[in-house]
Amino acid sequence: MILLVDLAEKPGSLSRDEYVGPVARIIAAIGYEWREVHFSEITAAGITDADGIVLCGTALKDNAFAERVQDLVWLRDARVPVLGICAGMQALCLVFGGSIRPAVGIGMTEVRVVQPDPVLGEPHTFTAYELHTFACEPPAGWVTTAVSDRCVQAIRHPDRPVFGVMFHPEVRNDAVVERFCAICGPAYLQ
């Protein structure tokens, strides 16, 4: 089961269908089970049966998660693969000691994969949809796996299957979510 974490400012918001729904649709289409939870309602017990965790994006004006990082410190101990999308990547940065800075990106952008990566594949260039108010300064030691002219577009934890992408893969880049799902579960972690 893949756990989708809604990072919107409140549970059940109007943003849910825009940022959680499309990711759920991709996961369901490839036959994986999924469940969703708002970040304010997550508990350690609630994530024990997850094979992977996706931190979903938020609306441009919604940066409440960045002021409530204490609600996300459980990510440091997550023992399953994690994929942070946009706000999710920003949350990973903040939780693991990186930072964010104002940098607006709206629309299609060229993303260059600069390091081979399990969710992005071999180095290549592709177009992706971005929608962000902030960009990330990755935590120390993390690998920058993709960039655009504007900002870091993807990062990876140095030792664990924890990934962040600034672009929205649910728009025209389903394969990123599909590859992430493929590495979720005990087989990969062993």
Binding site: G12, S13, L14, S15, D17, E18, G21, P22, R25, A59, L60, K61, D62, V104, I106, G107, M108, Y129, L131, T133, E170, V171, R172
Partner: protein, 228 residues
């Protein structure tokens, strides 16, 4: 949160409106009348009926006209949203964008510049489930424009019911149209919605049909509100 819903009169605008009403307060509708039939941003054959829909729903309407010149029309949209913010105190905008990055990113930029929220509750929704929900939840939707093979003239004015949806599914298989009309293959008009206080009635004599080579529009010259 007070919201303004961008409304072209079609199913996507009104279904997005219904989702917004479930979660927040819809303070007004915002409608752009384009003089350019080829506009990528705003084109529906019967956008002049949005005021009647607004009356049926009991929601105030802000209307702005645009020449429909690419990019300049965005200034007109920005002006309309600014008027809505000033008159109705909206803090955000709702669109019925389904998959159009072109439309969605432009509205996102305008909202960002105006300091407003932007919501797209139908964004990358499952087309099949979405079409089913429209029918199941009691929307009355007719086709007012067709712009692609294999649509015949008989589609103009046709109600989107389960039979029509089944046919759209076949077209999606055989002719690779999008089920929702997202690719501009067809346009719709909402005559009734669960939250409408009255419904729109159109007499047969009050329509004009133009059709040739899989392209056509239903021009509604007169419509009225009637009791539900």
């Amino acid at each position: 949160m007070k919201l303004g819903v961008l409304c072209s009169g079609g199913k996507d605008s009104w279904y997005a409106c219904s989702r917004a009403m479930e979660k927040e307060e819809v303070a007004c509708l915002i409608s752009i009348r384009s003089k350019n039939d080829a506009s990528y941003m705003f084109h529906t054959p019967d956008v002049h009926l949005v005021p009647l829909q607004a009356e049926a729903a009991g929601i105030p309407l802000v209307t702005v006209e645009t020449d429909g010149v690419e990019e300049a029309e965005l200034a007109d949209l920005s002006r309309a949203i600014s008027i809505a913010a000033e008159e109705y105190g909206i803090e955000g905008v709702v669109t019925g964008a389904l998959m159009s990055v072109y439309q969605a990113s432009r509205v996102q930029r305008i909202c960002r510049d105006l300091g407003l929220w932007c919501f797209n509750p139908l964004w990358y929704t499952d087309p099949e489930a979405y079409m089913e929900r429209i029918i199941a939840s009691g929307f009355s939707v007719i086709v007012t424009g067709v712009f692609s093979a294999p649509f015949g003239a008989d589609w103009l004015g046709r109600n989107i019911d389960r039979e029509a949806l089944a046919e759209l599914r076949r077209y999606a298989q055989s002719d690779r149209i999008t089920l929702t009309g997202e690719g501009g293959e067809y346009e719709t008009l909402v005559l009734d919605a669960p939250f409408f206080r009255q419904r729109i009635a159109i007499g047969e004599a009050e329509t004009e049909t133009e059709y040739a080579n899989y392209r056509g529009v239903l021009k509604i010259t007169r419509a009225e509100l009637v009791a539900k």
